[in-house]
Structures are given as structure tokens and as C-alpha cells.
């Protein structure tokens, strides 16, 4: 219904009420209506803006996996040695900084920076770099915007769900900067969105076109890929990472400093790597690190970094005191496999194989149990309905159990299960009572079944897909997180 139609409908409603109720009720409804009209008007403006941006993104040539020869150099043609009048006004607050001034602003306008990852780190990094007047930004991401991203990935919005993160980031960045940087409407290269999965086949081509690379990725394989690609092409790599309440920040391959492999020559065993989707992360923590990445990239771009400043790794722990610690690093390692004196790695590798895990921050599905050792949520639900005696064991940690749980479930976290088996035994009415194990997604429940089977006599099965599947298949009112 249009706003006008909606208003007429509500006026009729108001008339009926006026006959029966006091003037106060009418005035109250009037206030509510006005408020609603205002909010609808602003929503229309928002949507029109989104639409205009979407059209501009869709209209421009977007690089994809087949078309990444998109040349950043073409877009540099507009660079002049002077600022336009609107630029003086716009960047005035940083232009007046001692040591920054006009030369730094001109350098920012001519620099090209590639941000890999438009997530929790890439969001603030891209926005601050664009806002500061960086002339040429590239944003790489292969994911689409999801609801669970919005708590930290502040570059996206509710309306963008399902849209490519790279395009969404480009839209946000251009929302407040492309008019100033590309007065010539035919040239709109200020920000290039790469909706591609960066891998050994395309990384060098893209990276070569940029001056500075920002690693805002969320997985180990892409971190090694970016490191190697930056060493091979000789680009500084501004690397940030964040998980839970912790973050790390450093510049690799810069001024004879170390590369990622110098510090971490061996990739972590895949089972020890925790991602944000399983481990959690606070948005403000990714915000701190991502903003610092923007700052470091700006310092490198304009040459503001102090030559006496040692190479360092900044460690941020929001829950510790002091929250920031700077670790002084040595120069590059002579025996490093890629940046050392006798490198053994001379071209990009297969990083998924090297790390034993893919370029995704989602956990792969565990396939530990046989189908006979598992039960689907609907079948479990029917057992429950029939009052078949059993024990439901929830092996998530206490925090997650506190978010939501099924009634009558016993909570023993997986990590504590081996030493708390007696509690399970005590909760069983008979030795042969079946035990059904549930977790968030049906992964951790599988090793739990293995542990329990050794100690119990009755049937032990896990619930396929965990509470997530319970919510989609059995009870839609159960929360998914």
C-alpha cells in the first residue's frame, strides 16, 4: 500500500474511533500516524539511495574471475597535482595536521590499496581509507552479506542481505566519497569490487595492480597466500586479525622486516584453528584492529612512518591489562622459505593443501559417526512425544547453554565430558537408557558419542544438525544463533 493509501485507510479507522472514544485517543493516533509517515518517508529515501547505488554498481564493469585484468592504472588518469575546492574543504581537518599537509593528501589520492576481506576488519579499514581520500581502493570478497555479519561488519546493512560483500562494501564506500574523487562521471574507478575467491591462479594479477595490500581475511590459507604473493610482488602487507576479545596487527614484507612465514613458518593444525563463527568475536574488537590497519596503510602511503621505529607486532587483548602490547620484531629471517636468502618457495602454492583447511571461515561438517550412530531431529522429536525414556545430553559450553536449550537436557561441556561421565551415569534411570547427544550444529556431538560409547551400556546417538536443525525442522520458535 502506498503511503497516501495507507493514510486514507488509517483516517477511516480514526473516524470510527472518534465516534466512540475520547479526543485524546484521536490525538494519540494522530501522533502515531505522523510518526509512521515520517519513518516511511525516510525509509523511501533510504531505499531510493540503495537503488541508485545498486544501479551504479551494476552499471560499471565489475571484475569477476574471468575478467580480473581490470586495470587500476586506467583509473589513475584523473590524478592531478592539485586538490579541487571541495577537496580542500572535505579534507581540511587532516590537511592541517603538522607533517601531513597537502603533499600527504595528494599522495593518498594517487595511492592504490587492496583490501582483502570485506568483513569485520575490512569494514572499518575500507571506510576509513575511503573517507581519508585514498584514490583507488580494491575490495576482494567472495561471500554474501548475512544477518550474523552485521554485529561487526558495519560496512553492510540489513537491506544488503544476500548481496555480494565486495559490491556492498563498494556501495558504502562510494556513498560518501566518489563524487569528490571522480568529478568526471565517465570515470568511476575509485573503488573496484572483486567478487572472487582469491587463490593461486588470480592473486598475483590483482595484487600487482596495487601499492599496498591489507590482509583483512578470516582464514589461515588466504593469509599464507597473501603473504607469499606480497613477497613475490614486493608489496607491503598490512595484516590484521581478530578473534573473541583478541587481535593482532603487523606490517609484513616492509622495509626489510619479516614476512608472515618468518614468524609463523608452520601453519596451525586445522583442528586447533577457531573461527569467528565458532569462537565468537566482539564487533568493537575487529573495529579496533581494522581501524589500526587503515592507519598503518595511510602511514605507509604518505611516508609518515618513523624510520627509527622497529618492526613490531601489536597484540590487543581487550580483557587484559595493558590491552595493547607491542612486540619488537627482528628483520626478515635469513632461513625463511620465501623471503630468506635461499628461498625454496618461488611461486604460489596450493594453500588449501598446505594448511589442511580451505579459504572459508565456516567449519567443515564432521563425519566421524556412521548413519546408525545418528538420529535426525524429527525422529528424536517423535521419541519425545511418545515419552520414550532417554537422556538428552547437551555438550555445548555453559555460555551457549545459557543462550537457549531444550527442556530437560543435561549440560556437560564436551571438554569436561571425560571426567564427568559419572554425572551422565547417575542421570540414567537404568543402565540401558538411551542417551541422545546434542550440540549447536551436530559436529561436536560426534566425538562426544565416541567418548560415551566406551563408558555406557545403552544406545548412544547424536542428533544430526544439532539445535540448528531442531529449529529448522521441528520447532521454528527455537532460536538460531
Amino acid at each position: 500500500m502506498s503511503i497516501a493509501g495507507f493514510a486514507i485507510f488509517r483516517c477511516e479507522e480514526m473516524g470510527t474511533i472518534a465516534e466512540n472514544q475520547s479526543l485524546e485517543a484521536v490525538l494519540d493516533l494522530n501522533r502515531k500516524l505522523n510518526k509512521e509517515v515520517e519513518s516511511l518517508k525516510s525509509r523511501v529515501i533510504e531505499l531510493e539511495e540503495e537503488l541508485a547505488l545498486l544501479r551504479s554498481v551494476a552499471g560499471s564493469t565489475l571484475p569477476n574471475s574471468k575478467n580480473i585484468e581490470h586495470n587500476v592504472e586506467n583509473s589513475k588518469a584523473t590524478g592531478s597535482q592539485q586538490l579541487s575546492l571541495p577537496e580542500y574543504l572535505r579534507y581540511g581537518r587532516q590537511l592541517i595536521l603538522p607533517g601531513f599537509g597537502l603533499p600527504a593528501q595528494l599522495k593518498l589520492r594517487s595511492v592504490s590499496i587492496l583490501i582483502v576481506g570485506a568483513g569485520g576488519l575490512g569494514a572499518p579499514a575500507a571506510m576509513y581509507l575511503a573517507a581519508a581520500g585514498v584514490g583507488h581502493l580494491g575490495i576482494v570478497d567472495y561471500d554474501n552479506v548475512e544477518t550474523s555479519n552485521l554485529q561487526r561488519q558495519v560496512i553492510h546493512s540489513e537491506f544488503r542481505q544476500g548481496l555480494s560483500k565486495a559490491y556492498s562494501a563498494k556501495m558504502s564506500v562510494e556513498r560518501y566519497s566518489h563524487r569528490f574523487l571522480t568529478p568526471d562521471k565517465d570515470v568511476n574507478h575509485m573503488c573496484i569490487a572483486y567478487n572472487i575467491l582469491l587463490d593461486s591462479s588470480n592473486a598475483l594479477k590483482i595484487i600487482k595492480a596495487y601499492d599496498i595490500i591489507v590482509d583483512a581475511t578470516d582464514n589461515v590459507a588466504t593469509r599464507y597466500l597473501l603473504n607469499d604473493a606480497c613477497v613475490i610482488t614486493g608489496k607491503p602487507l598490512v595484516s590484521g586479525s581478530a578473534l573473541r576479545m583478541d587481535g593482532q596487527l603487523t606490517v609484513y614484507n616492509y622495509k626489510n622486516g619479516p614476512c608472515y612465514r618468518c614468524l609463523f613458518p608452520k601453519p596451525p593444525p586445522p583442528e586447533t584453528v577457531v573461527n569467528c563463527s565458532d569462537g565468537g568475536v566482539l564487533g568493537a574488537v575487529t573495529g579496533v584492529i581494522g581501524s589500526l590497519q587503515a592507519l598503518l596503510a595511510i602511514k605507509i602511503a604518505v611516508g609518515m612512518d618513523d624510520p627509527s621505529e622497529p618492526h613490531n607486532l601489536l597484540i590487543f587483548s581487550a580483557n587484559s591489562y595493558p590491552p595493547f602490547r607491542s612486540i619488537k620484531l627482528r628483520g626478515r629471517k635469513k632461513e625463511c622459505a620465501i623471503c630468506g636468502d635461499n628461498p625454496t618457495i618461488k611461486e604460489l602454492q596450493d594453500y588449501v593443501q598446505f594448511c589442511g583447511s580451505g579459504a572459508l571461515d565456516k567449519s567443515p561438517e564432521t563425519m566421524l559417526l556412521t548413519p546408525e550412530e545418528r538420529i535426525d531431529p524429527k525422529t528424536y522429536h517423535s521419541y519425545k512425544e511418545q515419552n520414550i525414556p532417554h537422556l538428552l545430553l547437551d555438550i555445548r559450553d555453559e555460555t551457549q547453554f545459557g543462550i537457549c536449550s531444550l527442556p530437560e537436557s543435561l549440560n556437560i561441556p564436551l571438554s569436561e565430558l571425560p571426567r564427568r561421565i559419572d554425572e551422565v551415569k547417575n542421570a540414567l534411570p537404568s543402565l540401558k537408557t538411551p542417551v541422545y547427544v546434542i550440540c549447536r550444529r551436530g559436529n561436536d556431538s560426534q566425538p562426544a558419542v565416541r567418548i560415551l560409547k566406551e563408558k555406557l551400556q545403552g544406545t548412544v546417538k547424536d542428533i544430526i544438525g544439532g539445535l540448528h536443525r531442531w529449529a529448522t525442522d521441528v520447532d521454528e520458535s527455537f532460536p538460531i544463533y
Binding site: 583478541d246 609463523f264 593444525p269
Partner: protein
């Protein structure tokens, strides 16, 4: 008076090392005048079962400076154990 035959050091655990030990730091005394980082690594593995998989891939820093596995830890040193964080 410090005893020349033993050292007391502070070990700081970051990120997954903190999760594995359940500690952000601890003070440890060893009956040795000094030790190498790789020796400390073995002792910590024995002390914390869950550190076994993690220590191999960690970076070590002594008194806020990067150090190699053969570097020396002395009385009063602060040793930071820094696993890579990969999320974002």
C-alpha cells in the same frame, strides 16, 4: 638475594594459548640458572596437556622482543607465547 641456581619467570599466554591453559599468565620457578626457549617449551608442554599442539606454531617473545628457539631465558624474564590469530 637471588639464588643463582634457580630462575623465576613470568609466562604470558595469548589467544588460543590462553584458552588452552585457562591462564593469561603464570609465574614459574625452575631449578636452573637459565634455560633455552626450546627447553621452556618442553616444560610447558609437560605442564599443560592442551598446549602440546599449540606451542609448535607459536611465536615467542622475551621482554617484549621476538626471540628464537635457541635464545636464553633468565631470572625475572617475561616470556610471551603468541599463537597466530587468523579470524577477522
Amino acid at each position: 638475594m637471588s639464588d643463582d641456581n634457580k630462575i623465576t619467570i613470568t609466562v604470558l599466554y595469548f589467544a588460543s594459548a590462553c584458552d588452552a591453559t585457562g591462564l593469561s599468565s603464570e609465574s614459574l620457578t625452575f631449578p636452573l640458572p637459565q634455560m633455552r626457549i626450546c627447553e621452556l617449551e618442553d616444560k610447558l608442554k609437560a605442564r599443560h596437556e592442551k598446549l602440546k599442539n599449540i606451542l609448535d606454531i607459536c611465536m615467542f617473545a622475551v621482554n617484549k622482543e621476538y626471540c628464537g628457539k635457541d635464545d636464553i631465558v633468565k631470572e625475572g624474564d617475561e616470556v610471551a607465547i603468541i599463537p597466530p590469530v587468523s579470524g577477522g
